[in-house]
Symmetry: C2
Subunit: 337 residues, 2 copies
Amino acid sequence: MKITINDIAKMANVSKGTVSRVINNKPEGVSEETRRRILKIIDEVGYVPNSNARSITVSETKTIGLIIPDVSNPFFAELARGVEDCSSEYGYTVFLCNSDMNIEKQKNYLNALLEKRVDGIILNTSGDFNDKKFRDKFYKINIPVVLIDRKTQDLERYKGVFIDNIEAGYKATKYLISGKNENIAYLAGTYGIDTTMKRLEGYKKALTEASIELKPDYIVYGEYSIKSGYERTLSLMKGHREIQAIFAGSDIIAIGAIKALKDMNILVPDEVEVVGIDDISISNLISPSLTTVAQPIYEIGYKASEKLINFINNKSDYEDEFLPTKLVIRNSTRRRT
Amino acid sequence: MKITINDIAKMANVSKGTVSRVINNKPEGVSEETRRRILKIIDEVGYVPNSNARSITVSETKTIGLIIPDVSNPFFAELARGVEDCSSEYGYTVFLCNSDMNIEKQKNYLNALLEKRVDGIILNTSGDFNDKKFRDKFYKINIPVVLIDRKTQDLERYKGVFIDNIEAGYKATKYLISGKNENIAYLAGTYGIDTTMKRLEGYKKALTEASIELKPDYIVYGEYSIKSGYERTLSLMKGHREIQAIFAGSDIIAIGAIKALKDMNILVPDEVEVVGIDDISISNLISPSLTTVAQPIYEIGYKASEKLINFINNKSDYEDEFLPTKLVIRNSTRRRT
DNA sequence: CAAAGTTAGTAAACCGGTTTAGCTGCTAAG
DNA sequence: CTTAGCAGCTAAACCGGTTTACTAACTTTG
């Protein structure tokens, strides 16, 4: 028996239109006296307007959807925090969705978000749409979307907030080269994903520039997880003891790699150097602390949300944005002289 | 120019009631043939029903709110993942809210969630309501709430999913005692919070049981953060070099403590042992790896969501639930013989 | 003082759905 | 053959809001 705007109207002996004006702080059409009277009643009976009812006429929900692979991954947790902070500052509430890099799950979430009529979506995509009909439908609906961290061929039409991944891969690899390493592996994340491939490009660029031969064996794909980093490192090092340095596709992977190296009694950084990408907060806590190409993770989330909200309200243009990265030198690499 | 149920009805030459039945898979009142025809049209034009419109008549939104202090804290990230997983399995979508332990923020989020007519709320409370009027209003609305991890006097009426914090504190302290330590500090989290005080009880119980004198100086309150753990450890150890072991109120605090001890050149575990509570995933990655009283964090989140959803649908009773903890022995404590 | 303008408010239409009462035409039962 | 029952559907009311067109009363202006 929820209390509605009609109840308030009756109690105050006014029409519900008048109550509506008071609720929405519309200045016209209500005298100060009745306004106060209505507000008092609202306060007394504890009336809470139903924003869903509102949303169907004003066609906005002040709600956005955030789709990421997994909040329990520190990188995405930090991203999510940035998104949520900005969103709430602008009066938006955010739906959290964990896609697990599963395209089917992502589709289900997108559908749910569309049904809930979110005003926009921030998407860390799990790859191309496999369901073309769904893609067409999705495109047709034309909901504002801002990509985050990763691009996808299929979603070319959408802009987003990223880092320059080529540069990031380049920086990491170049730093390893500066340590007089020649046999440098790229312990990559998921094959085919934008970030993975761009970082590869940077890796190649740095090697080429230094006239170091590119060895296909040194490039190993896996997933963006500790486990994957651990396992691939074991098998990689088993076959290639000559490797002197590992450029890990993310800090999470690097953490797995370091663990594997420890288990194999290979000293980090003395025997093998490791560099990651991301600079998640634990990277400074593990031992040895991780040298990494830092992304402004929180800011990426924050800016993505801001970009989305501006776009929703047509306040601004809608372009790709690339935030700067920075090499953070810690103890998984040797001192350079 | 969104397409609505009316448009579909017109296209199919039926009333919108019929379309509604088809959308909701109601078996009665529509022939197989028209059902197929309508579904085909829906598919072709890419119609997505508006669940907000739906929600105002069926008075449920299939939406729940999750309020936690901070997703970027690994403990809460894991919790959130558990909540979201369960919720999505049951067809619910979850709003993520970061309260930052700020009671005012929490109030604003609660208000927003009420306006959005969430079906229920999972709350890691940020303390008692300071606004009594709001509390009364909130109570009156009588929305299902499940507490998680922490209780509060004010919210006694609500049940939730927890661990036995007295036992957890007891286990941790007892294990430190078993290492022949007598000067054991409790590096607590926020003063007054349920978990903090219950763990204190456990700490006291273990000391009393072992006939170790309780020294007020050895109990230090702070916050549940690395920074706080770090700072309090520095000042604690400066004044009390005789301390042999630290029971940290959480893993996050323990991580800060270990960092501080390192900076003071105090060896862990040789000179000072450290035990935490939580077993967040990094606890196994830091060095030395952390001995800790493990909580089933993900399960707490998952069960809380399940409890809430069952309660929403009146399927089950609604009682407190305490999940088991387990001492995980790693390298921040010495080998016991 | 009349005309015009402003203010405060109402009633009704509308948003996009669900649900109920009732109608039509057919089949099965008595 | 009548009647009851049912399947298939429609029209209209309803959910809880917003918005628009309109009116009545009062104020300002020339």
